[in-house]
Symmetry: C2
Subunit: 339 residues, 2 copies
């Protein structure tokens, strides 16, 4: 909104307001107050604004009723950064260090030994099995409410090694604007992430405006029990569901129960979610954050061990999905950057 | 609202409106437009209205912010009837009859043989195993979208044997009012049912005003695959999650991710959900529909094979949970009854 430096008589302000309103009506809403100020006027912003215009135009041929305006977002690499390692893995590493005194056996047991020695590469050398062992050991053995406190403590203190900012500050300003823009247009925004739902929920409402019931993620098994008559939900070490790749449409169906009309991802783990979203009838939009900015963030795609974007990059080109060129299209990356 | 039989001059109407508003302010909101007109002025209505008043009173000691106003409802026996058999079982029986020509082996195989002979008791004699076999055979082998159409066809045609009304009309009018009343007061209403989520979602939005993403239920395994390049979700026969008993708090945590402040059930299958809800900090309300009306609906509790209410009945008395006496407290049972 235009900010007036001095107070003016009410009648003048009213006149100014009418003029602004008129110019907004003539030039389209965005000119009065750009809902996506951190986006350059590139193809992605155009695709987003045009799509929202089409599905919200009452009486238009592509109008979509508000309850059907479901938008799904991957988290790692789409809403926040995922380098140099997935932030949830950084959380697990910190938990290993905290819990080490209670686990003397970890000194001679991988991947814990490497984590304790500060050897990230060694810790992750065991691939999925090593990550599974880390997650099982650090994400279970407590109640859901105890885990929530642990996550909140971490989110309020742990800092990203490159930026020396809280991890929850290393979120993408342009994506915060997309979330708010869609919600202002009657969309319901969901996270659909390979990360743990219980890891994201404690801070996602504050950071993204996305409430716990709109977070779909991987999950471990839970067990209900009465402890001295008090009901608790215990987090068990076994995985219950992995919300990644072909798991994403499954997680969407299980938890949301209807097909999204807009999906935003950044890696091959989002491929099936993008396929599922765009195969529905009526207007559909699929977007991929392409990490092209080695200066301000990171540049990676096909050969990256984290956030690999290979098959989905081919399909994006073949199917006309929108590739967001981070370097070209984003004015700002993080909220903490100066405007 | 008061309905005026003739048009009056605007000023008079305004005067009348002011008088009504004044009387509403003096007598409390309910007197101007009772949000629960099918409820007698009994202890349950009082408990509901007082609870909603407390948690929505801004600045009050028990105020609960809107996002935390999560209310969960069992479905079978709480939002609609469950006699003489669970409606989803009636649906499965009908599917068996429809599918029988493709399954000649069913003529000599239980529980299918009994279903085809119209012998309900025989069909259910095998207990949970028989029901599992019925569900597996009738709720799988198609895509989620094909199943949705099958359910909608059934919901639009199949009639309850006693009332000769659509099953989706055999819902409880007083409970529809509770759902609407809570939503009007900023609550988010969820179904948390032992029934199948995919069975409830196709009609729950129209019938209860509850969208698919607010339906938590039992579910079968799903498989994502590409069929001639077209992505589909296949319904597999194996159960993935049973949302009943101790499964209900687990389902709530997995899908909603925060603890409800109000829970409404009717049977021992809801016991842990009621325990979990009421054990949280701050104001909590637990209610149980007690089926006491053999004339207008059914009367059953402790020894019933369907909707058994035994342990939860004891706990309701011990813990001060609100027992809704259907016969005494409900003016109407179904929407199709004359007012």
């Amino acid at each position: 909104m235009l900010r007036l430096p001095i107070r003016r008589p009410a009648a003048l302000t009213r006149g100014l307001r009418s003029a602004l309103l008129l110019s907004a009506l003539v030039c389209g809403r965005a000119s009065a107050q750009d809902p996506l100020p951190s986006w350059n006027e590139g193809p992605s912003k155009k695709a987003l604004v045009e799509f929202v215009g089409r599905v919200t135009k009452a009486g238009g041929p592509e109008f979509v009723a508000a309850p059907e305006r479901i938008a799904v977002f991957d988290n790692d690499g789409t809403l926040w950064s995922e380098q140099p390692i997935y932030f949830q893995v950084a959380f697990a590493f910190e938990r290993v260090k905290t819990l080490a005194p209670q686990h003397p056996e970890w000194k001679e047991q991988e991947p814990f030994q490497s984590v304790l020695a500060g050897d990230v590469k060694g810790a992750l050398a065991g691939g999925e099995k090593a990550i599974g062992a880390l997650m099982g050991a650090t994400h279970s053995g407590m109640t859901t409410e105890e885990f929530q406190k642990i996550v909140l403590d971490w989110a309020g203190t742990a800092k990203h090694p490159r930026f020396q900012r809280l991890y929850t500050e290393c979120v993408f300003q342009p994506m915060l604007e997309v979330l708010a823009y869609l919600r202002a247009n009657g969309f319901k925004t969901f996270i659909v992430s390979g990360g743990g739902a219980e890891f994201m929920r404690p801070w996602a409402e504050k950071v993204y405006g996305i409430p716990p019931e709109q977070v779909v993620g991987s999950r471990g098994k839970l067990k209900f029990e009465l402890r001295d008559g008090e009901p608790v939900l215990l987090k068990l070490p076994d995985p219950d569901f992995i919300d990644d790749g072909p798991g994403k449409p499954v997680g969407i169906q299980q938890q949301i129960g209807r097909r999204p009309i807009l999906a935003f991802g950044n890696s091959d783990g989002d491929l099936q979610m993008l396929q599922w979203t765009t195969a529905g009838a009526g207007p559909r939009l699929a977007l991929i954050v392409h990490h092209t900015d080695a200066e301000r963030e990171w540049a990676y795609d096909r050969p990256s061990p984290i956030g690999q974007l290979d098959k989905a990059l081919d399909q994006a080109k073949a199917r006309g999905w929108t590739l967001v060129d981070m370097k070209q299209e984003w004015k700002r990356i993080y909220p903490f950057e100066a405007k």
